[in-house]
């Protein structure tokens, strides 16, 4: 597991090299899409979170870990919304719920949401909500990423536009080795100031 200090600066990734897919797979941002500064929030209690954070941290303005107390996201969202920064996360649903509550009065909405459920027989389902312009590509990428889905997802989200509410949905299922300990559903998300 990456140390908390490493979270904050996307520091040493030596131990995670084996988790980074060789193809550095991601949904490639188109030239016309601007890459906005963003912050990253991650549940630090499991390897999916570590992998996601390792993928986004090098490009993030700041990275934050959240443990069992989802309230840790409150300060993150307060600062991010004050600076009008996009926030990406891979957390529990309760953390996302709190993040949305803090961000919504500032005109923030969900530009992306993913629900990632480990099913029986080493299957993993991704239920995604995003923009029709790139959601199909993202769904296809995750369908083919197996265990490397957190990295692929993180790298993709870090480069996608985030100014409109997610309205299109896609669901894909793939084979994936279950983590040692599954402590509940994971949700990935992108909260951003939306166009009026």
């Amino acid at each position: 597991m990456v140390s908390r200090r490493a979270f904050l600066r996307g520091g040493s990734l030596a131990g995670l090299a084996s988790l980074v897919p060789a193809a550095s797979a991601a949904v490639r941002p188109r030239a016309t899409w601007a890459s906005l500064p963003f912050e990253a929030v991650c549940d630090t209690r499991h390897q999916d979170g570590d992998a996601f954070l390792a993928a986004v941290a090098p490009r993030a303005y700041r990275s934050h870990g959240v443990g069992v107390d989802p309230g840790a996201v409150i300060g993150v969202m307060a600062d991010a919304t004050a600076a009008r920064r996009v926030v990406l996360g891979l957390t529990t649903p309760s953390t996302l719920m709190i993040a949305r509550q803090i961000a919504a009065p500032h005109g923030y909405g969900l530009a992306f949401q993913g629900e990632h459920d480990y099913l029986d027989s080493d299957r993993l389902r991704h239920h995604l909500r995003g923009d029709a312009a790139w959601l199909d590509d993202l769904a296809s990428l995750l369908e083919n990423s197996a265990d490397a889905w957190p990295q692929a997802l993180g790298r993709s989200l870090a480069g996608l536009p985030a100014d409109r509410e997610c309205t299109t949905t896609r669901a894909v299922t793939c084979a994936a080795r279950h983590p040692e300990r599954i402590s509940g559903q994971r949700v990935s998300w992108m909260l951003a100031p939306l166009r009026a």
Partner: protein, 524 residues
């Protein structure tokens, strides 16, 4: 333009009123267009459809003077205003108004900590001050004072008290620990209760009664005025703090636990807000239903033993704490251990036994006044868009009643395919039995069943002589109807007060089933 407006207001009148309010508070502090900002004032845990409780606009004043100007406008146009402090009363409605189309008066900008007095142990706060904020302020100043907070620390100190909320330290009865209010009435009059009405007083936050009738209570769980300041007593940091937990293996132990704890509470040997917590409440903090069964269905009894073994829990888990010098705590604990340890299978746990256990850690924090949000993990239990509404009947601290309420709620919950997730907050002589009806809000069928279950429970409890102390917007009228002794004398008095204090009915219509005259006549 919002989809719903009060039916006595034309869109033009509404727009004019909103424009006048904008001129008072500044346009950046009014939201009247549909979008994420307005929708953030919907009830995120509602068992109803999304728009049933959606406001038409939100206005955020910065102080009493702006509130008075808003009230003048509201009276002129008869715009209904639903006041919120921090709007975090989730499971009971959150920031949403009782009726769609009403305007939310958001007091979040009134977030000054006016005074913290270490000598006498009190704080004077405005509505927007949260538990997190007050706690951090006290830490920064180095005062030797503890706060008492509700389980989610983002709530308003003042707002939670007005809702009769409870906490976990010896100062857990929040309304009992309040001292002095400042209130703005519907006509804009500002008054101060208790000693606060004596100019130059130094006792506003020291003596709760003042001279004459004590009116503070009528401004709680009501719509008779807007509370703009409130004093709260704060506990001096004790020389010692000893939290403990006891697990009990069998469902039927609830009777014996309750009988054992009653004399300990009535005699104040256990001074804090103690809790008898059901297994699934504990489990929901740190795991999910999907780990033990079908996430769409309530857990079978057979799963309980596995949860108990995996997480070192009992069917019931009792939390309490002692405070004070060590010799006193040790002596008192002997009595506590003898009483609560006499139940076969009881296992005692202390800090060194459960450090790092999320269920233990967050309660240890709460019992010494450290706010956190860990209990929110409960919404992860069912997956999807987890939410909960709380059914909260009051029980005597008596074994027979605890068991009767537990069986009543559990049986009904299972009938509707919901888990019993519940706990008893053990007060001085009563228990607040909180059943957290947890459901996936994105599932229309679950929402319907949640509404039906809640309604059935209200009827069942009233028939058995138990009333709720607090409830969600959707059920306020129904529960108000159960408090009907002597042909509804109490609510008739509430309505007389309402008509006298707020003749235009602009303050929170429908709060706790109290409606202004023109809306009662419309319904009739």
């Amino acid at each position: 333009m919002p989809q719903a407006l009060p039916n006595w207001l034309t869109p033009q009148q509404f727009q004019q009123a909103v424009d006048e309010m904008r001129a008072v508070v500044g346009k950046q502090w009014v939201v009247a267009e549909d979008g994420p900002a307005l929708r953030s004032y919907r009830d995120a845990f509602s068992p109803e459809e999304d728009d049933v409780f959606l406001p038409s606009a939100v206005v955020a004043p910065d102080g009493v003077e702006q509130i008075q100007k808003i009230l003048k406008i509201a009276n002129d146009y008869r715009v209904p205003l639903w006041t919120i402090s921090s709007g975090k009363n989730f499971a009971y409605g959150g920031p949403a108004p009782r009726k769609a189309g009403h305007v939310v008066l958001d007091l979040k900008r009134m977030n000054r900590i006016i005074e913290v007095n270490e000598e006498f142990g009190y704080a004077l706060v405005e509505p927007g001050v949260t538990y997190f904020q007050l706690y951090e302020y006290i830490q920064k100043k180095g005062y030797k004072l503890w706060i008492d907070c509700a389980a989610p620390g983002w709530g308003s100190v003042l707002g939670n008290t007005l809702e009769h909320g409870v906490g976990y330290t010896p100062y857990g009865d929040h309304f009992m620990m309040h001292c002095g209010m400042e209130v703005v009435l519907a006509d804009g009059t500002v008054l101060r209760t208790g000693q606060g009405s004596l100019p130059g007083t130094q006792c506003w936050q020291l003596f709760q009664y003042g001279f004459g009738p004590v009116l503070d209570g009528i401004f709680t769980q009501s719509n008779f005025g807007i509370v703009t300041k409130m004093g709260m007593w704060l506990m001096p940091e004790p020389p010692g703090y000893m939290p403990f937990m006891i697990t009990y293996e069998r469902e039927e132990d609830l009777h014996a636990i309750t009988e054992a704890v009653r004399p300990l509470k009535v005699n104040m040997l256990i001074p804090n807000g103690a809790f008898t917590v059901g297994l699934l409440w504990e489990a929901s903090i740190k795991t999910t239903r999907a780990q033990y069964g079908d996430p769409k269905k309530r857990l079978p009894e057979s799963a309980m033993k596995k949860i108990m073994a995996d997480h070192k829990l009992g069917m019931w888990n009792f939390y309490a704490a002692l405070y004070g010098p060590k010799p006193m705590m040790d002596n008192t604990f002997k009595v506590v251990r003898e009483a609560l340890g006499s139940i076969p299978g009881a296992k005692f746990y202390f800090d060194e036994d459960r450090k790092g256990d999320p269920s233990w850690d967050y309660r240890v924090k709460l019992m010494r006044g450290i706010p956190n949000m860990t209990e929110f993990n409960m919404t992860n239990w069912v997956g999807g868009s987890g939410a909960h509404v709380d059914f909260s009947p009051i029980s005597p601290t008596r074994g027979d009643d605890a068991v009767k309420q537990y069986e009543l709620i559990k049986t009904r919950a299972h009938e509707y395919n919901f888990d019993y997730i519940g706990e008893f907050a053990v007060g001085w002589r009563d228990m607040h039995h909180v059943f957290s009806l947890t459901f996936d809000r994105s599932d229309t069928d679950q929402r319907r069943r949640a509404r039906e279950l809640f309604s059935a429970l209200i009827d069942d409890a009233a028939k058995a002589g138990y009333g709720e102390y607090r409830t969600h917007l959707a059920f306020m009228d129904k529960i108000a109807g159960t408090y009907n002794w002597n042909d509804g004398a109490l609510w008739k008095l509430h309505h007389k007060l309402k008509d006298a204090l707020d003749p235009n009915g602009i303050l929170a219509p429908g709060k706790m089933g109290i409606w202004p005259k023109h809306m009662r006549e419309e319904e009739a």
